[in-house]
């Protein structure tokens, strides 16, 4: 029985660890916290796997544990210690010349993301990086689908007016944002 349970954990790790880790990196802003958070989240999820209803999809539930662990760190640990430098200086970051159609600097995006409130940052990362549907995000954060939709809208609006991203947002979007403001 123990062997089967460990096999289950291995399956989770093989399938979801990479995305979960990078999701945590985007949420927390640094690799050290992300590594610790995901490690804790997987072990916690594995320990409490019995609470997952039979036949339920593991992925949103796993993300829920990851998000909760990250939120816990954002609330309890990170604010109470010396501010770590976020890993914005990323290794192997593509240059503007390499991908001109992308937002010029991932560093700018990460800064803008980091300035979003945590509850908005979570939905943005889960939707646009982890590629979860609004329904799955609702499961992952324990809110209704309508709440997810409105938070996504608010997050995109705030990103559009963030100074670091002004250069990469279309003029139409700027006009929309101005109108909204």
């Amino acid at each position: 029985v123990e062997g089967a349970a460990v096999d289950e954990l291995e399956d989770w790790l093989r399938r979801d660890y990479h995305t979960s880790y990078r999701t945590a990196c985007l949420l927390l802003g640094n690799r050290s916290d992300a590594e610790e958070a995901v490690q804790e989240a997987f072990l916690r999820a594995w320990r409490f796997r019995a609470s997952l209803a039979t036949g339920s999809d593991v992925r949103p539930w796993l993300y829920r544990v990851v998000v909760n662990t990250c939120n816990s760190k954002l609330r309890q640990e990170i604010p109470h210690r010396d501010r770590q430098s976020a890993d914005f200086e990323l290794v192997g970051r593509p240059s503007v010349e390499d991908i001109p159609t992308q937002i010029a600097s991932s560093q700018d995006l990460l800064r803008a993301l980091h300035d979003l409130p945590a509850h908005l940052r979570v939905v943005v990362v889960l939707r646009y990086y982890a590629d979860l549907s609004e329904r799955e995000i609702a499961t992952a954060i324990g809110r209704r689908q309508g709440t997810v939709k409105s938070r996504l809208h608010e997050a995109r609006r705030q990103l559009a007016v963030h100074p670091a991203l002004q250069a990469h947002v279309s003029d139409d979007s700027k006009d929309d944002s101005e109108a909204l403001r």
Binding site: E36, Q39, Q76, R81, D87, R156
Partner: protein, 355 residues
């Protein structure tokens, strides 16, 4: 509004730049198999970065737990030593008897055919109502053919005293006296009453009762369970304050061990409680003696009746003689027939050769 496609692509691009840590999946798998506290030492500690606050809380809680544990342990051991049932040295003088047997009750091995007065069960030892294991054995002799009714009567007695029959067994006939054994269990308070009543069912040839004061053992078990439950409560408090998965796993392991010990001791306490709640009386019942076969009727010694009996006897004797002689005679006839057949075959063979 920022474009969704652009946001998605850029986020992936930014996320891809975060390199994966080495060996993290192996560390998670190892941690999943970890049994604290051994696996928390050495290399594995690196895997679990604890916050400073979490460490402080953990260290403080463990220190408090140790102090509480030592205090409770001291209390437990003092109770245990003071009321050990083996020598009952710590019991008040009025409850101290040879070999830990409560006074007023006969020691195992004593035999008597006389019913003894019911002994009062001691109470109040070490602030706890006395816990006494009472056992007894009664041997009864009853009239012939009354085994079933005696067993039924004993069953009724147990029921009337609020008890029950634990087991019974009976043997009828087979060349020896019918006998049976029945084990009765009644509430401790009615035990002596039952012993007295049982002796009236038949002729009691042996009565043995023993009483063992296990109050000390009972109190000791209770104190140990209380101490372990206090420790468990402390660990649960620590669990709520644990900030890393390493701490959670370590505390969980300790909780599992404590829970197991508590359940084990609780089981012992339940058994002891059951044994001290009910007294056990084994009654052995034996019928007085084997039924004698009817005496043979002696034949008359004179007259017509005697002639008739002699005639019948002569006829029977003659018939017996005929049967008795018939066996050897039949054997001789068969032997002669076999010889005749063989002789005839030999004669025929010889004659054919001559022809």
């Amino acid at each position: 509004m920022i474009d969704e496609g652009l946001l998605s692509g850029s986020l992936r691009d930014a996320a891809d730049a975060f390199e994966f840590p080495d060996g993290v999946t192996e560390r998670i798998l190892a941690a999943s198999r970890m049994v604290a506290p051994e696996s928390r030492s050495a290399g594995s500690t690196k895997a679990f970065h604890r916050s400073r606050r979490g460490r402080i809380v953990l260290v403080t809680s463990v220190a408090a737990l140790l102090v509480t544990g030592i205090a409770l342990s001291a209390e437990t051991s003092s109770v245990s030593h003071g009321s050990a049932p083996a020598n009952s040295a710590g019991l008040p003088a009025q409850y101290r008897g040879a070999g830990g047997v409560a006074p007023g009750l006969p020691v195992s091995g004593q035999k008597s055919s006389v019913s003894k007065p019911a002994a009062p069960i001691p109470s109040g030892a070490v602030g706890q109502s006395a816990k006494v294991e009472a056992n007894g054995m009664v041997e009864l002799t009853i009239g012939d053919g009354t085994l079933e009714s005696a067993l039924a009567k004993l069953t009724d007695l147990a029921a009337a005293d609020g008890g029950f029959v634990s087991s019974d067994q009976a043997q009828f006939g087979g060349g020896s006296s019918a006998s049976g054994t029945i084990v009765l269990r009644v509430p401790q308070i009615n035990f002596q009453t039952l012993v007295t009543q049982v002796q009236r069912v038949g002729d009691a040839t042996s009565v043995t009762t023993t009483a063992q004061d296990v109050t000390g053992q009972y109190v000791d078990l209770q104190a140990r369970i209380r101490a372990l439950e206090a420790s468990r409560q402390q660990y649960l408090t620590i669990m709520t304050r644990a900030t890393s998965i390493g701490d959670v796993l370590a505390v969980q392991s300790q909780l599992d061990t404590l829970q197991s010990e508590i359940e084990q001791l609780q089981g012992q306490l339940n058994v002891l409680s059951n044994e001290t709640t009910y007294g056990t009386l084994t009654v052995s019942v034996t019928e007085a003696g084997k039924k004698q076969p009817p005496a043979p009727v002696s034949p008359p010694t004179s007259g017509l009746s005697k002639a008739w009996h002699d005639g019948v006897g002569g006829f029977v004797s003659g018939f017996e003689w005929f049967i008795r002689i018939g066996g050897p005679l039949l054997f001789v006839l068969l032997f002669l027939a076999a010889l005749a057949i063989l002789g005839r075959l030999a004669w025929r063979t010889t004659r054919r050769r001559m022809i």
